[in-house]
């Protein structure tokens, strides 16, 4: 078992305490809801576009530190990006938290790389990935509730 500090990094604890972009955009172009039935995490994402770029986005909901911090850091990481870039980030982030050999992606992910510790805690991968699955559903314009189960 790796050290808990590898999982609960200061950045993660900080975003858990004070999540960024928390709330709801009333004039959103896209939205989606996510649910992790195992832990009861619920998440809702609203997003505004400028052309094919993410102009603004917000998330709200309740969840564990990993899922809340992941949503918060994600909103920071994708603002201003094109939808294609966002899909690429999704794939990289997915590899980061699931694949031991994904070190190469860390540079590309910037601040989001703090979630690398999650890969040593298989039970927590769903927590880290929920926000990303929900964002992906919003972008793909799928409005059913995304579930990690």
């Amino acid at each position: 078992m790796s050290d808990l500090r590898d999982l609960y990094q200061e950045v993660i604890l900080d975003h858990n305490r004070s999540p960024r972009n928390f709330g709801r955009l009333e004039d959103a172009d896209l939205h989606a809801d996510g649910h992790n039935p195992l832990c009861g995490d619920k998440l809702s994402i609203t997003l505004k576009l400028a052309g094919d770029r993410v102009a603004d986005l917000r998330f709200e909901g309740s969840g564990c530190a990993i899922s809340k911090a992941s949503a918060s850091l994600m909103t920071e990481g994708v603002k201003g990006r094109t939808l294609d870039e966002l899909r690429g980030l999704f794939d990289r982030f997915h590899r980061l938290v699931t694949d031991q050999g994904a070190a190469a992606d860390e540079a590309e992910l910037g601040k989001l790389a703090v979630f690398a510790g999650v890969r040593d805690y298989p039970a927590r991968v769903k927590c880290a990935i929920l926000a990303w699955h929900t964002l992906r559903a919003a972008v793909d314009d799928r409005h059913e509730v995304v579930s990690t189960e």
Binding site: M1, L4, L7, P37, L38, C39, G40, G63, C64, A65
Partner: protein, 415 residues
Amino acid sequence: MSSVTASEPAVLDVARIRGQFPLLAQTVGGKPLAYLDNAATTQKPQPVLDTLARYYAAGNANIHRGVYALSQEATEAYEGARGKVAAFLNAAEPAEIVFTRNATEGINLVAQTFGRSRLGPGDEVVVSGMEHHSNIVPWQLVCEEKGARLRAAPFSDAGELLVDELEALLGPRTRLVSIVHMSNSLGTVNPVRRVVELAHRQGIPVLVDGAQAAYHMPVDVQAIGCDFYVVTGHKLYGPTGIGALYGRRALLEAMPPYQGGGDMIASVTFERTTWNELPHRFEAGTPHIAGAIGLGAAVDFITGVGFDAIVAHERRLLAYATEALTAVPGLRLVGTAADKASILSFVLEGVHPHDIGTIVDAEGVAIRTGHHCTQPVMDRLGVPATARASLAMYNTTEEVDQLVAALARVRELFG
């Protein structure tokens, strides 16, 4: 089983008990394991492990058909286990015990046979608001099919069943009451005798879900007066994949079969098939023979330790843990019924239960976090999830201390 001898003080030698559970001796990441997730499943004592190994090594044969000695011995061991479970629950006769995969299957069996044959449009099944999903979903399935309605009796903020409100739900359309004996997420022990009394007054049969209760307290189905009672082996210090349904003979005899196949028939032609006698009518196909025999060994083990000693030990431990956890800053117990047993559900201010679970695991403490398959309970109490420590006969005050110390580590990380 139900008769309590008051003369001898109930003392449980925990060290000796622990010595019989090989799994408990291990360490997790260098820390001694404190296994506090017994409501999910209990560990297995050596006599159960030995019984399983011995059966497969020297006793394995199919039952109820062979004329050779090995098959007859396997049949005797299997039917002997049924007798042990019948005695454990104080059923009137072994034929009232049907082996199932688990408690869930016991409920599904009743829903699909008794429920399906008795429910019609407008009829009702009454459960409580603190049921495990396994005592909700099987009824929803059959109610949907039959146009019947599932109703739930509420419970208080402390997690106590509101018996008057349950009584108010009973009426001429009620076909069955199905209620949990002991809540897996709150620890509440329900007044099942009283519920049976109220239901029977109106001629309504009652199923009691004993998955949690049966390893914490002596169960006497005749004293409770219930019509059905379900248990699962893996929470009785026995194997997974085996459980039992108790049903009163008159009800079982009137029920249509559950699954079709070998062993459940008396005779088969392409024109007409007749059903075997109880309880074989409800046990189609080769059953989990080893599991049933292992379950027999498990109830022997429990009876050997004795419920007097088990109840006294767990009661002391629950009181100790309740006090220790209540003293943790920011901790709130969820489920504080006056009559509760061996389960401590809690939330910690500012920390999600899932994070608690991961952090205490790093300290060797195994607890459950989440909704515990009781989402309506979580909704009712307005919490998304809880952390849950659940005790068994082999747990110690040191393990409770280990949990409390681990919670201090949670506070350290989360500030």
